[in-house]
């Protein structure tokens, strides 16, 4: 499937870019890098005010009932602005698990609060270096969680977490209120992601899915979060493309704009290629929501977007020379975000393997 954005979608894209451009403040973001425990509050207020938290929540739960296409467009604008809060993706993951999980009461309890921005959600699946441990060490028994989830994005401030755990040797997805969990803040190279080790010691939680159903649901949730993240990565990669292009057109060396040197010029053209391929995959993946090929499309989007953002941040800095590595210019905001997003919700190796396993089935 591939789609052209309709008018409403185009308006979301334009408006989210406009709002973020107006409120984006590089100095504020740079300051956040050196503080543990702070996110970009003005950004989050904006997200709530603009209804981005409600975008993909069903209407009956106070949301706007839109989908991945619309959320993706907002994420793309956030990526371009290196917006400093991870809650949008995390909240979406939690709300999707609630919508698809088998607990209507829990959904009714949390979805309106997630939609209104009153509650903040995070997703805790990874353990150690594994994005999706087949047999998670965090255990769930008698309605209580025990164990630690490392470096959960948004974990420092979230109210509620979707947790991938083990129960009687089977995986489960559970929802835990974090009031009852300890959070150890992680000092990171991208501190506004609010990473925290979540330490559960008998924390009460509610089961959403178990066994094969949990496996299917966690993959779907990861796929959806990967598509949102891929949009964010494309937004960042595209911003870097534009920064690089503008610098190449204005900066002079040896009496001419450096964009006349093919080493620069062709590199900018390659950056464009990476952005457009990743963007095309993002659109396709978002439009494939709910179809049998969704995870394949999500993997394509995730792989190409990760490659685009990592490469473009490397190359944009290199094109700038000395000024590119200064704190003030802030290209490292993108460099850091490219890496944190590349690791969050599964690294390249994870998505490559997942993609190949799906393709293997298709080729007899």
């Amino acid at each position: 499937m591939s789609i052209l954005y309709d008018e409403g979608q185009q308006a979301i894209a334009t408006e989210s870019r406009r709002v973020l451009d107006a409120r984006m403040d590089k100095a504020r973001l740079l300051k956040l890098l050196e503080q543990v425990g702070e996110h970009d509050a003005p950004f989050w207020d904006t997200a709530v005010e603009q209804g981005w938290t409600a975008l993909a929540v069903p209407e009956e739960h106070g949301g706007l009932g839109l989908g991945l296409i619309e959320l993706g467009l907002v994420a793309q604008a956030c990526g371009a602005a290196t917006s400093g809060a991870p809650f949008l993706t995390g909240g979406y993951g939690v709300s999707q698990a609630l919508v698809q999980g088998g607990n209507a009461a829990l959904a009714a309890q949390w979805l309106p609060r997630l939609a209104s921005g009153e509650a903040i959600g995070c997703v805790a699946i990874a353990e150690g270096n594994a994005a999706l441990p087949p047999a998670p060490a965090v255990s769930f028994a008698d309605g209580k969680l025990s164990g630690t989830k490392p470096a959960v994005p948004g974990g420092q401030k979230a109210d509620v977490a979707l947790v991938w755990a083990s129960k009687d040797g089977q995986p489960v997805l559970v929802l835990a209120e974090l009031a009852g969990a300890a959070r150890n803040a992680v000092d990171s190279y991208d501190n506004s992601r609010l990473y925290a080790d979540l330490v559960f010691a008998g924390t009460p939680a509610t089961e959403l899915a178990a066994g094969d159903a949990a496996r299917a649901l966690v993959l779907d949730v990861m796929g959806r979060m990967a598509v949102v993240t891929a949009h964010e990565q494309v937004g960042g990669a595209e911003a870097l493309l534009h920064i690089a292009r503008d610098y190449a057109n204005t900066r002079k060396a040896f009496g001419q704009p450096i964009g006349m040197f093919q080493a620069i010029k062709h590199r900018v053209a390659e950056m464009y290629g990476l952005v457009e391929i990743a963007r095309a995959n993002c659109i396709h993946a978002a439009a494939s929501e709910g179809t049998a090929e969704f995870l394949t499309a999500a993997a394509d989007a995730r792989i190409s977007a990760t490659e685009a953002y990592d490469t473009n941040s490397r190359d944009c800095v290199q094109i700038h020379g000395g000024i590119g590595v200064t704190w003030e210019l802030g290209l490292h905001l993108h460099m850091r975000r490219a890496r944190s997003l590349a690791v969050e919700c599964g690294n390249l190796v994870f998505w490559e393997d997942l993609l190949v396993e799906r393709l293997q089935g298709e080729v007899a």
């Binding site: 964009g259 006349m260 490559e352 393709l359």
Partner: protein, 401 residues
């Protein structure tokens, strides 16, 4: 079912009826000459069935349908491996230019009919030995000769010229002005006196391109297409006629499924290759790249259906796809180990990794080299400055050779 889908179904039914006699399997083992004869037969059948000149005006013998109908038919036809390679350029560029610029409409109608039926083939003579990526640097010259012209010079890389009846050609009519200003465009009869076509053998062993030498070739002024000195504009028009022709995200090499099949069949150090991270990474990265290109194509198609102009990202297709095909083909050969040392020079480029590898360099050069494509993307899409051009603003005959 949309009208376009109905058309697709009709096309498919026709193609299926043709496949046993003209499709990939039927052609296997043909010499080039046998394949050309078969191709001419097939083109006549296509004409009779109403699938020729799909998006051309009925005035000159076309079907009067849209560009989308044409792409739809082409995409279906590509899957059957019909012997149409000889006619693609002929109908893609020279004949449309003739239709657009030639004033003798009866002559045009006759040529169009014969070209569509595969009875006549047209070539396009642009590149020259000294030119390479620099079209406007051409040296083949015409001089006034009575009420016509006399041509001398040399063209190169002309596809299928050895089988062509006519061709279009751009020449230098005035060497005293800036290089892209002194050009004039003509059609010529390839059987004219003084035209000498010599096939060039390529690295893969075949000879579908030619060098053509011109020795005092006589051209009537009625053969001129466009104004005297307007040849560069006509050339650009020629190259832009078919912006969205059927593309192939596999870079015209094997489908990725073929690689996955290979990786499932062979081992790496006693474990299935498909379980090896190197192989997985190659498969996944190629899949993501090809899926992206396919998605770009589908969106372009959707935009055209909606009456919009497709985005410029379509220009990434060949650059990205062929370059990747080259490396993937090398890796496939590595995986085959000693088994892959055997080679069939007549193998099909879309199923054989050796053939795909050996011909990939041609793909990276023909129709715009990687470097020219990158320059075009940088300048035309991103607005980066043109390279330094010492020949700019200088009369052609004052540029140091």
């Amino acid at each position: 079912m949309s009208e376009l889908e109905a058309y697709r179904a009709k096309a498919r039914a026709f193609l299926e009826s043709m496949a046993p006699k003209y499709g990939r399997d039927a052609r296997s083992g043909n010499t080039v000459e046998q394949d050309l004869a078969l191709g001419r037969e097939y083109m006549a059948k296509k004409y009779d069935a109403g699938f020729a000149g799909i998006n051309w005006s009925p005035d000159i013998g076309g079907q009067g349908l849209t560009h989308l109908h044409k792409i739809t038919f082409d995409a279906e036809e590509m899957q059957f491996g019909m012997p149409v390679q000889f006619f693609g350029i002929s109908l893609g560029m020279p004949v449309p230019i003739l239709i657009h610029y030639c004033e003798d409409k009866e002559f045009v109608k006759e040529r169009v009919r014969k070209a569509l039926r595969g009875e006549e083939i047209w070539c396009q003579m642009f590149s020259e030995p000294s030119g390479g990526s620099d079209l406007a640097a051409l040296r083949t010259k015409v001089e006034s000769d009575g009420n016509g012209w006399k041509m001398n010079g040399q063209k190169i890389w002309t596809s299928w010229a050895q089988y062509c009846d006519y061709g279009v050609i751009v020449t230098r009519s005035d060497p005293t002005v800036e290089k892209h200003k002194g050009l004039t465009y003509f059609w010529i009869d390839m059987k004219s006196k003084g035209v000498d076509v010599r096939p060039i053998k390529l690295a893969g062993g075949d000879s579908h391109v030619n060098e053509i030498f011109f020795d005092d070739v006589r051209i009537e002024d009625s053969q001129r297409l466009g104004a005297v000195g307007g040849g560069f504009g006509v050339s650009l028009h020629t190259l832009m006629i078919e912006r969205y022709i059927a593309t192939d995200s596999g870079g015209f090499g094997p489908h990725l499924d073929e690689f996955v099949k290979l990786a499932k069949r062979v081992d790496i150090n006693a474990k299935p290759a498909i379980e090896d991270g190197r192989v997985r990474s190659a498969i996944a990265r190629n899949h993501a790249m090809r899926a992206g290109l396919d998605s770009i194509t589908k969106r372009a198609f959707a935009m055209m259906m909606a009456g919009m102009q497709p985005g410029p990202e379509g220009s990434l297709q060949k650059l990205v796809a062929v370059r990747s095909r080259q490396k993937l083909s090398e890796m496939a050969m590595d995986l085959m180990g000693n088994e892959g040392l055997a080679f069939d020079p007549h193998a099909y480029v879309k199923t054989d990794w050796g053939t795909s590898w050996l011909n990939a360099p041609t793909g990276r050069i023909a129709g715009g080299s990687d470097e020219v494509l990158l320059n075009t993307i940088a300048e035309k899409i991103l607005g980066l400055p043109q390279d330094y051009r010492p020949d700019k603003g200088v009369p052609f005959n004052a540029i140091p050779a």
